[in-house]
């Protein structure tokens, strides 16, 4: 398969002026030179800003050494948070701006939709705007004429096609605007989140049309914050962060990684937590029956007895929780650990074979999790001490106490047999197999 887009070490630098965002005026420029040559400092705010910092401008790399290749007919997504460089990348690919370094080779006719209705003029009628917008998007007039009826019927504004669009409702406006773009016919289509327009029914229509458009061998670059849209439309995803490529992988993996990072960044506390200590009155959500017992601390330990929250899938690890019984109890106490998945669903609960000691004293409950039980992913643990004789069975419970991540080292799973992609699922147990000739 041939390469449609080849991006090599692409970088884009913006110079931010701290004096005046964007537009400059001559007075500033001339004034700047003047004070440099004369060496005298006047006391305008401009000069004060200049003297406090060594320079008045700051460099900002919107993209840094970005390299990737898109094969012909491949559909890729570009994902990443705000300021990750997605828009800059699209702007360079669609030739709106020039790269600072590196180069892009594009094979085929490109159409980019960075916005719907670019160039729409409110005073012009729907009909006139279709022609204008089409011309701006690079559609020859004959092609527009040929597709005109399809465009109009797709938009559903037939009745108002000769009314100036300033009288349109915003829904109608957007529908018409999208419809023009929906009939473009390029080799390479660059789309920036324009799908989320109109009402539900129209959105569905758009999604279908996009699928149609993105089918038949067209190369597509699609930017979106919606992981669902990305997953349904693209095969691979380029994950950008701060202008750099974090990964370029199958869309499933990239989307998960992205969501994880976003969650990590938005959540105040980090996911990883290999150790907890209960501080009375401070630890949130902590429950205990303080008449009988109290939980003190807990941690995760890997095979080499190091406390860590990053665990290898091919190694065992232990969860240890220390607690204190405040007096001798005349009932069975059972420690049990609840394992949750990243999104808070309970994965399983583990119980010991025998109940714990009932005498007053300090204990450590340890539970060993075997290798290849948990699949790659993030999990959390809630340690609980229960007594099933009491009406409230909980002696203590520490919700979300430990949070860890299981990772797979390369070549650590002998059962991959050469498959290098994702193996989804919560568990990856090594079950007994037998394949015999029947």
């Amino acid at each position: 398969m041939s390469i449609a887009i080849d991006v090599e070490n692409l970088s884009k630098r913006y110079v931010i002026s701290h004096l005046n965002k964007g537009a400059r005026s001559i007075r500033e420029v001339v004034g700047g030179y003047f004070s440099k040559f004369s060496g005298t400092e006047s006391h305008t705010p401009i000069d004060d800003a200049e003297s406090s910092g060594s320079s008045t401008t700051e460099e900002f790399w919107a993209l840094r050494d970005v390299s990737f290749q898109v094969a012909e007919g491949e559909r890729i997504a570009v994902i990443g948070g705000n300021g990750a460089g997605k828009s800059t990348l699209l702007k360079i690919l669609s030739r709106i701006t020039e790269p600072t370094a590196g180069q892009v080779s594009i094979r085929g006719k490109v159409a980019s939709l960075l916005e719907v209705g670019t160039g729409f003029h409110p005073e012009l009628s729907g009909r006139e705007n279709i022609y204008l917008n089409g011309a701006i998007l690079g559609m020859p007039r004959r092609e527009i004429q040929r597709k005109f009826d399809q465009i109009v019927s797709f938009s559903g504004v037939e009745k108002f096609i000769d009314t100036p669009v300033k009288f349109y409702s915003s829904g109608m406006y957007v529908r018409l605007a999208f419809s023009v773009s929906a009939w473009l016919d390029p080799d390479i289509l660059i789309v920036d989140e324009v799908l989320s327009v109109g009402d539900q029914a129209f959105q569905k229509k758009c999604a279908e049309r996009m699928k149609e458009l993105t089918g038949d061998g067209r190369t597509v670059i699609f930017v979106s914050h919606s992981m669902a849209a990305v997953k349904s439309m693209c095969e691979r995803a380029l994950y950008l962060k701060n202008g750099r490529v974090i990964s370029f992988s199958p869309v499933e993996a990239a989307a998960t990684e992205y969501i994880r990072t976003v969650m990590m960044e938005t959540e105040q506390r980090q996911w990883h937590c290999e150790r907890f200590e209960v501080v009375q009155g401070v630890s949130e959500d902590y429950q205990e029956n303080s008449e009988y017992c109290t939980c003190t601390e807990g941690w995760i330990e890997n095979e080499s007895a190091n406390q860590t929250s990053l665990l290898r899938m091919d190694q065992n690890f232990k969860i240890r929780v220390s607690y204190e019984l405040k007096k001798d109890l005349d009932m069975e106490v059972v420690p049990n650990f609840h394992f949750y998945t990243e999104d808070g669903a309970r994965f399983f609960i583990s119980f010991p074979e025998h109940p714990a000691p009932q005498l007053k004293g300090k204990y450590i409950a340890a539970c060993e999790v075997p290798a290849f039980l948990m699949n790659v992913g993030r999990f959390s643990v809630m340690p609980v001490l229960s007594s099933y004789k009491l009406s409230n069975t909980v002696l203590f419970a520490v919700p979300n106490a430990l949070r860890f991540e299981v990772v797979e080292m390369p070549n650590s799973d002998s059962r991959r047999h050469g498959w290098s992609g994702d193996i989804p699922g919560l568990a990856r147990p090594r079950l007994d197999w037998a394949i015999t000739s029947a």
């Binding site: 001559i26 669609s94 709106i96 701006t97 790269p99 892009v104 012009l124 690079g138 020859p140």
Partner: protein, 288 residues
């Protein structure tokens, strides 16, 4: 391998029927003019939009194209011809004024529209690719349309006063092109500079305002004393308006050196303007 080859060829070349486009810093695309040719429809659509939109929601509509120069002609005729009583070289003063107003109106509207064109189409520049030259060029087209309409008024006036044109009228299109070249060249400079320095939004109208009086719009050129002539003709519009009067009214005396200067000046601004525009167009989207 593919990339070095394409770099060597400097831009677009063909592999298996598809063009390969290489985007790097500072490489201006070799097929710039072909690219513009491909976008010619957009050029016409932009001009068509501007013409269509301009007189929407006005009562008299497109008649403004005629009303404006007519009223200006009346005012100038009264002020310069009647009140100041300036010489008219034995011709109706209103005709003298109109033959000056015609090129001046074209020049000033083309120049001011041109210089504002990029900024007022900023949303296009930051969202779609097209050769940026299309935008100022489309305003020139709009100016030409207005000019053509004003010309019909000129025809009426000429016959009204019984001034039948001589063979000199054949050079009328040449002077029209000269005006367009001059306005476009200056307009390209102003447009590219306005993107970066918005001061030009104020500077250009100001100069055009002064220009009406510094050019022989409301009076005849021979009003200027001989000793000031060299300086006076440094304004290219002086030579151009002279040329128009010569070609329409068949005037005898014309200072050809002034016309020649206007030709050289216009050619120079066009060439340098195009260069400057192309050099700065890569960064328009970043600074606009």
């Amino acid at each position: 391998m593919l990339d070095t080859a394409s770099q060597f060829l400097g831009g677009v070349f063909s592999v298996a029927e598809l063009d390969v486009l290489v985007l790097t810093n500072g490489v201006t695309i070799k097929n710039y003019w072909r690219d513009i040719w491909r976008h010619r429809e957009m050029l016409f659509f932009l001009a068509w939009r501007d013409i269509l939109v301009r007189y929407k929601q006005t009562v008299v509509g497109a008649s403004w194209v005629l009303i404006r120069p007519l009223l200006t002609m009346l005012v100038f005729t009264v002020v310069f011809g009647r009140i100041a009583n300036l010489p008219s070289n034995n011709m109706p003063y209103s005709l003298l004024v109109f033959t000056g107003l015609l090129p001046w109106g074209f020049f000033s509207s083309a120049l001011s529209d041109c210089s504002n064109s990029l900024v007022s189409n900023a949303h296009l520049l930051s969202k779609v690719y097209f050769p940026r030259l299309i935008v100022p060029a489309s305003t020139l087209l709009v100016g030409l349309v207005d000019f053509a309409i004003s010309c019909s008024l000129l025809v009426v006036l000429i016959f009204w006063y019984g001034y039948f044109p001589t063979w000199k009228i054949l050079l009328f299109p040449v002077f029209t092109v000269l005006t367009a070249v001059c306005a476009f060249g200056l307009g390209l400079w102003a447009a590219a500079l306005t993107v970066r320095y918005r001061d030009f939004r104020h500077l250009v109208p100001f100069f055009l305002q002064l220009g009406v009086y510094a050019s022989p719009v409301g009076y005849a050129t021979n009003l200027i004393p001989e000793k000031w002539r060299v300086i006076y003709y440094l304004n290219p519009m002086v030579g151009i308006i002279d040329g128009f009067r010569w070609s329409i009214l068949g005037e005898e005396n014309i200072y050809w050196t002034g016309v020649l200067f206007a030709v050289c000046f216009s050619a120079l601004v066009l060439v340098t303007g195009l260069r400057f525009f192309r050099k700065s167009e890569a960064t328009f989207a970043d600074v606009i």
